[in-house]
Symmetry: C2
């Protein structure tokens, strides 16, 4: 972020800033042994977070400070996810609002020492229905009927149709294809249908934890869902996977990392072609022997591609090239 001229104009009436609390909150992701993980703190599942303060140089540096302080873990790649205010700040009579600015951070295996207060947890502990690498998860078979029943409880015919459609699109009902990017929409539907529950929230339909997943504090699971969705869509048009890889890696390791994030299996030959023809990687010359089979060539990320290309594709039929 660069410096910018000061804001001298205030268009509306005189502001009143006090009573508004601003929190910074991080979804820190890494992939260990084919399992996508998120960094949590404390005994209950809580994302690292803390208030934005006057002493912070910027939002991002404030976030780095809090995460480092709570987890002893330095952050690499960071991007903003979403900012939201929650009205349920019922700390009894307090006239106070909470604003949360959430971030997605990516980090490498190498730096992943478990500190006493922080833990790496698999995404799929919280979202068992999101992992399709070994076939359709059992959770989806359970949710299907519940969601259809929930749709029928809608207040009027329009609302019922709407619920049914949303469920079908998000969960791939009625022979629709599964879309791994709809993680947030799925979570929100399950939340509305009371099929998941959170720490400090209202109770849900009784379901096994292996079906509805582990709860998190407050709305942290929703923020995690936002982060997963963002990452799943982003890996398709920007080379962010490499933020999660070691300096050198085999193509299978790269593929398995993407598979872990997407929660789906990828066709090997086509994946390799895709990676190589886009010139995202280059051979190091070395090979890896601990593969269980034929030794694999080692590759490294070609950082140069970040300069060469813009990574924002056209989908419009432009005129006269």
């Amino acid at each position: 972020m660069r410096d910018h001229p000061a804001r001298t104009e205030n268009v509306g009436p005189v502001r009143n800033g006090r009573d508004i609390n601003v929190d910074l909150i991080a979804v820190v992701a890494a992939v260990v042994d084919r399992e996508p993980c998120v960094l949590t703190v404390g005994p209950r599942s809580t994302l690292p977070s803390g208030p934005f303060e006057l002493s912070h140089r910027s939002l991002q540096s404030g976030l780095r400070d809090w995460v480092e302080q709570q987890t002893s873990h330095p952050l690499g790649y960071i991007e903003q996810l979403y900012t939201f205010a929650d009205r349920d700040r019922m700390e009894v009579g307090r006239d106070q609002r909470n604003i949360s600015i959430s971030y997605l951070a990516l980090t490498r295996q190498e730096a992943m020492a478990d500190s006493p207060r922080s833990h790496w947890k698999s995404w799929y502990e919280y979202f068992p229905w999101e992992d399709h690498r070994s076939g359709t998860p059992e959770a989806l078979n359970v949710f299907g009927p519940h969601l259809i029943a929930w749709a029928k409880e809608g207040s009027d015919p329009t609302a019922r149709r709407d619920r049914r459609k949303r469920a079908a699109v998000a969960f791939g009902l009625d022979d629709r294809p599964w879309n791994e990017e709809l993680t947030l929409q799925r979570y929100e539907l399950l939340y509305e249908a009371a099929l998941v529950e959170e720490v400090g929230g209202r109770p849900r339909t009784a379901l096994a934890a292996s079906i509805s997943g582990k709860a998190m504090v407050a709305d942290h699971r929703r923020i995690l869902a936002t982060g997963i969705a963002r990452l799943r869509s982003k890996i398709k048009y920007r080379p962010v996977v490499f933020e999660l890889m070691r300096a050198t890696f085999t193509l299978l390791q790269l593929q398995q990392t993407v598979e872990a994030l997407a929660g789906r299996l990828i066709n090997k030959p086509n994946f390799r072609r895709l990676v190589e023809q886009q010139e995202l990687v280059e051979e190091t010359g070395g090979t890896s022997l601990d593969t269980g089979g034929r030794p694999a060539k080692l590759y490294r990320f070609r950082h140069a591609v970040l300069d060469e290309r813009a990574f924002a594709g056209t989908k419009l039929p432009l005129a006269r090239s």
Copy 2:
């Protein structure tokens, strides 16, 4: 936004919310007569904005309130753009931080009455170099040498190469293709190179307004650039253009709206095919006569597609379909 359990845990030390001001700020866009426009208030170019207050039900409704109050203009489609804090709040000795939550809003021609305090201004008054519909803008010929000179002023060889590369990618130098989505990157480079200037900011290299565009208050031009970039990329994968169209329209009107937003011309036959094969529209049966030529069929948006499809495409070679 749904209700969510209250935040009961505070991980960090006790927060201190006062002294932090939260502003809501809107880029309200519409297309009039093939010209993409933004809603401004006051004599100097200012985006509608105001502080988030305890009385607001949510961030979005707070934004709606402010925009409506300042411009008498109701908002339709809204999406969040970005949240940032600026450190340059040097109101002499004040220990206060400003946080701005910016939004992109789309609105229709129909609702576009000019109120006394608000005005519709073409994007391209602020970004003359972004409109490529009638060929390469003169501004780019002027910027080229300036940017190359600026790159040479870098502190060390790495910085110089980096500046040169960024300029080449963003502005399509060295025979690179023009990418209309890089509006924000281009603005940031021009700002760093002191080729644009803002109200209340440091002076720039002396350039005609037809080259460097009109200034805006504080960092509003940067926010506008963010909105333009977001919209230019979003029209490619979600049917948001229709938020800017009247209820019925001809295919040429639709094409010209997209062209206005993208700042580029589109191939007509291919555009029509694209729209029709994706089943985004349906014929109304009527025709428009005021086209200057043969009467054109009128179309309307097929709202049903929003339910049918997910609009999040795969780019990964998935295994065993």
